[in-house]
Every structure is written in structure tokens, then in C-alpha cells.
Subunit: 86 residues, 2 copies
């Protein structure tokens, strides 16, 4: 029997501090128009769940880091963070 | 002195089970092309941070629920969940 461990990476991608977030600004504006005056700020980001098979936590960690830098995040303006659940 | 409590809502919006996620499929395909054959599935979603001022946790909770249903999520095809940090 072959054991195929499964890992689930939960990835958050957000704009770096100081980067203009036009989508966030638009949503903030829409909330004000709807009467949500208590809202003082919005940050829009992406959330990804990546399911992996046949890899250990030690193998998965650098692979997910690579995916984030190559494909998911634009590291000039975005930062990423992730957790790994088995 | 007026106390202005601050709350931070962290909101995750994801597709409901069974809803076609073309962006997730495209990213999955791109990962395969890049050699990440261990990836068995991708779920793309949105992540929002909403900062609120002058509201208690009890006041914030139904307001954030309302924002999600009115503005952030399309509840026909998306589900949302959130946490509140003070």
C-alpha cells in the first residue's frame, strides 16, 4: 500500500503597505453610500486553497513558497503568507 | 474622553461546493504546466479586511454579516465566513 499524504495550503495575498488599492477604495466608497459609516478602512486581497498529494509538510513548504512567488503574488506590490494543514 | 473601540473583520469568500471555478481551473492548469504535478486541486477566493471604529463586537457582528450579503458575496454561488478581532 502506498501512503499518499495530503496537504492543504491556505494562502493569503494582500497588497503591501503603501500600495494603492483601487478596488478596496471603491468598496469602501460603496459601503459609505450604503450607510456603513463605522468602516474606516478596507483591504482587498486574494485567498487560495491549494490541495497537494503525495508530499510531506517539509516538501510542500518550499513548493508553495515557489508557487506564490512565480504565479500567485506580484511580489513587487503584494505580500503572501500561508499555512499548511495535513 | 470618548472611547472608540476598533474592530477588524477578516472575511473569506469562497465558491460553494459544486460551483464551477474557472479561475481556479486556469491556475491549476498553469501550475501543471510549471511542473507542480503534486497539486490536485485549487480553490480561488477573496479575502477582505474591514476596519471599523466606534463599534463593539456585538454591534459589529450583524453589520459585517449584512455587508457580506449585500456587497461582498454573491450568496447564490459564494459562501462567506468571518472573524472579528479587537
Amino acid at each position: 500500500m502506498i501512503i499518499r499524504p495530503e496537504m492543504l495550503a491556505k494562502i493569503h495575498i494582500t497588497f503591501k503597505n503603501g500600495v494603492l488599492d483601487p478596488q478596496g477604495k471603491a468598496v469602501h466608497h460603496a459601503l459609505k453610500d450604503l450607510g456603513y459609516d463605522e468602516v474606516s478602512g478596507i483591504q482587498m486581497g486574494k485567498y487560495l486553497e491549494v490541495r497537494m498529494e503525495g508530499v510531506s509538510r517539509e516538501e510542500a513548504e518550499p513548493r508553495v513558497k515557489e508557487m506564490c512567488e512565480k504565479l500567485f503574488a506580484n511580489t513587487v506590490i503584494e505580500s503572501y503568507r500561508f499555512t499548511l494543514d495535513s
